[in-house]
Symmetry: C2
Subunit: 257 residues, 2 copies
């Protein structure tokens, strides 16, 4: 199994606090020791930091925890390998360019038989079931909209919502798919989220002794949603998603599809 | 203008020494202050570290200089913006997946009219002439080999060599294109390389007071080629490429096409 962490915000926000909570689960408070990755969108661009080392030991993870990269959309993943060996090419998040936009995917769960799904425009580089699922999703989207996306981005994510059950039926498909502004989250069995907005309070991490007073770190207009496999804090109410529930986030807010 | 740095090696080798020489040119000994990026291939996987900050100030550049990531193929670039604003999406190297392999490109020079070249399978995310040239190159290759590469990788790079003059005629096309094992370098006006092999000696950087004794760092079988816009060391013989000369590197060795 693996763990997912996503963030959607209406102003560029750093993820140092949540990331610190997740990273200790990479080999210290939990056994997800087979690498980690995090993708930050900044404007139209994005950058992904990856390491096949346990995140609790990684120099790169240390940098990300201390260096506040500000983003409106972040996807992160720590891995406990089941399908595909421990290596950089099997480390999430995965990304591909479609219509001149960077698309990013991370997944928690196993998908039995996923490799029978055909991929066309997008081919896996590694051997994980997760990257195969991503390439299939992207190929399906591209087949429907070969040259440009539909005008309304919701139309696009409704297609993703229609494709998700195919993955869910193969096993466990907790996943994120993001285009840099929108973050789509699908739950098979384990995904939680919360939205922080004014009045902001104090939050305490569950995995490491760390507290942050968001009132000191934010302005009253900030809206930030954090989505994670398991709640990262002990003193906040996390919403637990139901099996086969999906949710689109845009600039920090959950929005209806 | 910008500066390029590439490395090809027969054993995974770190690039800390050469990278240290390049990074001070990012705003300190030279004016390439508009971001930097470096791609490391590790097995089938790759990871790219990017920052839109000057490399001489970047926390990420500091990490790369001190943290020895070992790779047989590296591409790096520091940017002085001319086409396209200073932003992450305009920061080299650029990458795309083709046939389940990660392809990486970095470019030095301006290409007038390049945006008239059609891109098909691959679309630019940013606004640089460089990324457009990359998408055009990749689209041309994909059009010729839509489903899988030719059996002999040399056949593929011969196609790149045939396409390069189109870019050269538009201005200056010093560029690298790599697939993780092979590194193709094309020179329009400014590109140098050298191959280090036993007996190894001492090298001194030109831009910063730093010396390395490669005999301490290597085994007798190591072969490492470094390719750079301008020679990075003062006491070694760098080969200066001629206009429109290209060279393919495989596991540290220059090979004939």
């Amino acid at each position: 199994m693996c763990e997912l962490l996503g963030m959607s915000a209406n102003v560029p926000t750093d993820i140092c606090f949540s990331f610190s909570g997740l990273m200790v689960r990479g080999g210290q408070t939990a056994p997800h020791k087979d690498g980690f990755g995090v993708t930050f969108y900044e404007g139209k661009g994005s950058r992904t930091f990856k390491d096949a080392l346990p995140s609790c030991e990684s120099e790169i993870a240390k940098l990300i925890q201390s260096y506040p990269i500000k983003s409106v959309c972040v996807i992160s993943h720590i891995r406990q390998a089941n399908r595909g060996r421990v290596s950089l090419e099997n480390t999430h998040p995965f990304s591909r360019e479609m219509w001149g936009q960077n698309w990013t995917f991370a997944h928690n769960g196993q998908l039995k038989g996923v490799k029978k799904l055909t991929t066309d425009h997008f081919q896996p580089v590694g051997t994980t079931d997760s990257e195969h699922a991503f390439c299939w999703l992207m190929s399906q989207i591209k087949a429907k909209y070969p040259n440009k996306p539909p005008q309304d981005r919701k139309t696009l994510f409704r297609l993703v919502a229609k494709l998700a059950p195919t993955l869910h039926e193969m096993g466990v498909a907790n996943f994120f798919l993001a285009d840099g502004r929108y973050l789509f989250a699908h739950c098979s069995n384990n995904l939680h989220w919360l939205t922080r907005r004014a009045p902001f309070g104090v939050a305490s991490l569950s995995d490491v002794e760390m507290t942050v007073d968001f009132q000191q770190e934010t302005t009253p207009n900030d809206i930030v949603t954090v989505i994670a496999t398991k709640p990262l804090t002990t003193n906040e109410d996390w919403y637990k998603m139901a099996p086969q529930e999906y949710q689109l986030f845009d600039l920090g807010e959950p929005i209806k599809l």
